[in-house]
Symmetry: C2
Subunit: 251 residues, 2 copies
């Protein structure tokens, strides 16, 4: 009927330190304390512990959890309040991410560019530093050699594809198409397919990695030289949003 502190800790997937902490906080007192001071917990305590751990995984603090378990607060209400906080945090992070992106771009704006011809066809590895640090030196090197080893005709072909894609993006952006709409999402699909032809980019289960695609979109916005290809700030923002939706949905 009783379990030692290590026992329930293992049963619930936590540590004895956590159990003692919850005991000290009055959140989960031992169901019995032996004469020698040893803590013992019964099955009801185990159930309570599991509820606590569940709520903790959702991000609730111990005071909020106590209020819920002691029925001082409605659980759903507490979770909805918590949801608001989570969403705010997420937005704050989103803003920080964008600021960091633009800061990086501003810092490196005038450093190592790849050759101009390359710029038009291989825009995603123009930032040598960024590609190497975030996706590994291989990503840059293999993309680089892939491009260099192309024949002139292959390169021209590739540039034509790229130009057409960019033109369609600009067109859609001008027409104020919704970035999560079918048309934009089809463009995003083409964009990812185009990307997929480049060896060495980071992938997940065979497809370009979602984080990479999103990062690419942010880069288009952060760097005016890219933005120009997609119709300026507004157009690049559109591309970024479309890629983000696409990545969320299908990658």
């Amino acid at each position: 009927m009783d379990h030692s502190i290590q026992d329930i800790a293992r049963l619930a997937g936590t540590t004895s330190r956590t159990l003692r902490h919850y005991g000290a906080e009055g959140l989960l007192p031992p169901s019995r304390v032996a004469a020698n001071g040893y803590r013992y917990y019964d099955d009801r305590a185990l159930v309570r512990l599991q509820r606590i751990l569940l709520l903790r995984e959702l991000g609730l603090g111990l005071p909020a959890i106590r209020a819920v378990l002691d029925r001082e607060t409605d659980e759903a209400a507490a979770l909805r309040a918590h949801l608001g906080w989570l969403e705010q945090e997420q937005q704050r992070l989103q803003r920080q991410i964008r600021s960091v992106h633009t800061t990086i771009t501003a810092l490196e704006g005038k450093d190592q560019l790849m050759a101009e011809t390359m710029f038009d066809g291989f825009d995603h590895s123009i930032h040598k530093e960024e590609v190497e640090q975030r996706w590994g030196a291989d990503a840059y090197a293999s993309g680089d050699s892939w491009w260099r080893d192309m024949t002139a005709a292959q390169r021209a072909q590739w540039q034509a594809t790229t130009a057409a894609l960019q033109a369609d993006w600009r067109d859609a952006a001008e027409r104020q198409v919704a970035p999560d709409g079918t048309e934009a999402q089809q463009l995003a699909g083409r964009h990812v397919q185009w990307l997929d032809a480049v060896p060495g980019i980071p992938r997940e289960n065979g497809r370009p990695a979602a984080a990479y695609v999103r990062g690419l979109g942010e880069m288009y916005v952060a760097d005016d030289r890219f933005a120009a290809h997609y119709g300026g700030q507004a157009g690049a923002g559109f591309v970024r949003d479309a890629l983000a939706v696409y990545a969320a949905r299908t990658l």
Copy 2:
């Protein structure tokens, strides 16, 4: 040439406590300390302080900032490393948000439903508790009375519109359309327009609030009764993603 501690604090938009903290950490020592112990900072210190605060807003920790300012680390490299952390945090939050949503739905699954007829036409306010707590009692009440005051013909009209929209969503989902593509985004546009016809929903500058639209999408996924209208889990996930992209891009 010199400023007192309060002076630069005001100039830089921070507090004297922070200045002392940075001094104690060796991150920004006072440029001069008078015989009486008073700290004084010159213009170079002000510049350094401003850089520190900028990096802090981007979320960097003090050790990372020190490394950058002391030129032990490349600033862009530090920011890219930081970017990876930010993106991970964002994903963790996203997972928590979804878990909270499904938990809330599971908790309230069988409580207060609106009438069945209402269910088919007014799905976004079916969760009385959720709507009231997160968007205010007015949101629920005005939506509720709007619906109740309709004539039978008006209601039938509305339900037909709703059903058509849902059918198009199911169709697009089945065809594996990309959620950030043009087609899905057009559907999202229709969805928001449809929503916009309901009085009392939360708005921002005249249009349905982005957070509300996103929340709606999450609800479709979290609640099987909604999901059913959009083609089950997969379909609802598609709708959610499409709405999220749409919200990000145009709301």
